[in-house]
């Protein structure tokens, strides 16, 4: 057989440790989510009731369908809340460990900054900064590789979307300087 059997090994030096302490349990998060959903159901339910959730001569009013859906959502969340509270002693399963939370934040925070930057600098400049910054600071990759990858990817995106496919992205001062 001409098949080669070389092993492919990729290491992950920044992997979260297995023995990292738990930040929050799944039970606690479930209770929190159920409470949030309950509040959402109440808000939407009220808004739809205000819009009109009964029947008029032509059939159900605009708020009718969503009003009853809010009731179902509220019911489901309430049930979930009670089930979780009753089983709370058992629900000590870890939702996220400290090391995992750190890694998730390492993506979430840059993504948040990227969205903010897109608003002011345009999507392409923001994406260059996100990719280069993420590769260098989070992935600890070599600087020139990070810059080059970020530049190439952003350039390809610009050519693909703004030029070839005419899908216009938000722009900022840099593109304006080049007359785009």
């Amino acid at each position: 057989m001409s098949q080669t059997n070389l092993e492919i090994i990729v290491d992950d030096p920044t992997a979260p440790e297995d023995d990292s302490p738990s930040v929050v349990t799944s039970g606690a998060v479930e209770i929190f989510v159920c409470l949030l959903l309950l509040a959402l159901a109440a808000t939407l339910g009220y808004d739809n009731w205000r819009t009109g959730a009964s029947w008029d001569s032509t059939g159900p009013e605009p708020g009718y369908f969503p009003f009853y859906l809010s009731v179902i959502l509220g019911g489901g969340s309430l049930y979930g809340l009670i089930v979780t509270l009753v089983a709370h002693r058992k629900a000590t399963e870890t939702f996220v460990t400290r090391a995992q939370a750190r890694r998730v934040m390492a993506v979430l925070v840059p993504t948040l900054l990227f969205c903010l930057l897109t608003q002011f600098l345009g999507l392409y400049v923001a994406s260059f900064l996100l990719i280069a910054g993420f590769m260098r600071l989070v992935g600890k990759l070599v600087l020139w590789k990070s810059l080059l990858t970020a530049f190439l990817f952003t350039a390809i995106m610009f050519v693909t979307f703004d030029i070839a496919f005419d899908v216009i992205m938000p722009k900022g001062p840099l593109e304006a300087a080049f007359g785009h």
Partner: protein, 499 residues
């Protein structure tokens, strides 16, 4: 026979250089996202969807469906070589696929996986070719009550047959239906749930939600895990391929059984995950030496892969014929149809023949081209895994943002996508299923319209949902399915008492 003629016409639509190039691009991109850690079928399709916005619908759907086939093929590569199932339906493939790779039979396992995927999809596509036109012409007679009953059946079967905790499915579905209602009411023109915000006037776009729920949340989840990999490299030689193919007839029962399971579970919302496990378990039960399963038996690769792909493909049948997606990916494709200005449902077969038959023909062609492509390029794709995730993650974030923005040219949608990303991450971790949410969000408005039109027609009489045999039996079936867990429980207790 009419179907055959139309299918040939579909091939004629496809056989242009442009479509063929798009097909190849779609397949390569699809395999790429399938192989990348943390991404798979629905995520890949959601992220790459914006690429197709400016294309004509036929080219767009061809490219998207090829991305999907590619992603399915790609998932098998990581399952077998690295023991990492890219998607839940690839889990069963790792049972025998990875042991085969360990024994130095990676090429054989990969060939088996790709070939059986191909066979599974082919059976499902054949089913679509002949059944979809029949169902859609039948559905042309449907009025609003019938449509509402079918939507109700879809929603109820998710609640009744889903594996997740019932209340979580209900939460997910009602939330999706509610969010679908945000914005202007299509019947009265009144504003609902906008709270005075001008951004919410447009409503919550389904695709923005999907990109956040599947793309961004998947990146967050992937980051949590250790990304170190250990696996086998493989290249496939023609001799291995022919060797596996020569033995195929021996396994015809397994292949056929898995194809049927897949088709059945793909049309009903059981889905590819259930299909792959069921395919595997049945092959094991009826196999000659059940104990040798899990130690590198080729049937253990054939069975789940055939079933998963048959199911993934068959999920497109209700989408094409009725406008009701049978899977998450089908829902995203359905969202795509709306972006391209097509109205999903039975009329599609009448009004857009080119589109429908082009799509069906592309399923045949895409699978053949995909099979050849993966068989020849496995070593290249396996090495994609060497690309550091720190480079891939921000690129996916950027692609998601481009996708979210491109749908309505709104910055607000990028923020919305981020919000859905966080929601998706939390929901996945506490076991609230995302598929019912996606389905509800895409069908919500149409279900509501159908309900209100039925009510207007009947003067507010709910008996309209039992007004004739057809609508009555669909509605009753829906309610039975909704109560199925309770009925099942009672039946089981009875049986216990008797024995």
């Amino acid at each position: 026979m009419e179907a055959l003629g139309l299918l040939l016409h579909g091939f004629a639509v496809l056989l242009t250089l442009k479509t063929l190039v798009l097909m190849m691009v779609g397949l390569v991109l699809g395999i790429f996202v399938g192989v990348l850690p943390g991404l798979g079928g629905p995520n890949g399709v959601a992220i790459l969807l914006p690429l197709t916005f400016t294309m004509d619908p036929t080219s767009a759907i061809v490219m998207l469906s090829c991305i999907y086939w590619g992603a399915l093929f790609g998932g098998a590569i990581t399952s077998i070589l690295f023991n990492i199932p890219g998607e839940a339906w690839s889990v069963a493939t790792t049972f025998d696929g990875y042991p085969m790779a360990q024994q130095g039979r990676a090429a054989e396992a990969l060939t088996a996986a790709f070939t059986s995927s191909f066979i599974g999809s082919l059976v499902a596509v054949l089913l679509i070719t002949f059944l979809a036109p029949m169902i859609s012409s039948f559905a042309l007679k449907f009025g609003p009550p019938e449509f509402f009953a079918v939507y109700l059946l879809t929603f109820c079967s998710f609640v009744g047959l889903g594996r997740e905790a019932k209340h979580k499915t209900v939460i997910s579905m009602s939330l999706g239906l509610l969010l679908a209602g945000v914005g202007m009411d299509t019947v009265s023109g009144q504003l609902r749930m906008t709270f005075g915000s001008s951004e919410l006037l447009r409503g919550i776009n389904f695709l923005v939600a999907v990109i956040g729920l599947f793309g961004i949340s998947e990146i967050l989840l992937t980051m949590e895990e250790r990304l170190a990999l250990r696996g086998h490299a493989a290249s496939i030689s023609l001799r291995v391929v022919l060797g596996v193919w020569k033995d195929l007839p021996k396994y015809w029962v397994t292949l056929l059984r898995s194809s049927f399971i897949g088709c059945w579970l793909g049309i009903t919302p059981g889905g590819a995950i259930a299909a792959s496990f069921m395919g595997y378990n049945l092959a094991k039960r009826f196999g000659k030496d059940p104990r040798s399963f899990g130690k590198g038996r080729i049937e253990g690769v054939f069975a789940p892969e055939t079933a998963a792909h048959a199911s993934g493909t068959a999920a497109l049948l209700p989408m094409l014929a009725l406008g009701i997606p049978g899977s998450g990916t089908a829902a995203i494709l359905l969202g795509g149809l709306m972006v391209w200005g097509l109205n999903p449902g039975p009329l599609l077969f009448v009004e857009h023949k080119d589109f429908v038959w082009g799509l069906i023909a592309s399923m045949y062609l895409g699978n053949v081209v995909g099979l050849v492509l993966v068989l020849t390029t496995v070593p290249i794709f396996a090495s994609i895994l060497r690309v550091p995730f720190a480079a891939v993650a921000p690129m996916i974030v950027v692609s998601c943002a481009i996708g979210a923005y491109a749908i309505q040219n709104a910055m607000f949608d990028i923020w919305l996508m981020l919000g859905f990303g966080v929601v998706g991450y939390v929901f996945k971790k506490i076991g609230i299923p995302l598929a019912p949410f996606t389905l509800a969000l895409v069908l919500g408005n149409r279900a509501e319209d159908a309900f209100r039109l039925s009510m207007i027609g009947s003067g507010g009489d709910l008996k309209v949902f039992w007004s004739n045999g057809l609508v009555g039996s669909i509605t009753t079936l829906a309610i039975l399915l909704l109560c199925w867990p309770a009925i099942d429980d009672v039946l089981r207790r009875r049986r216990m008492q008797w024995t």
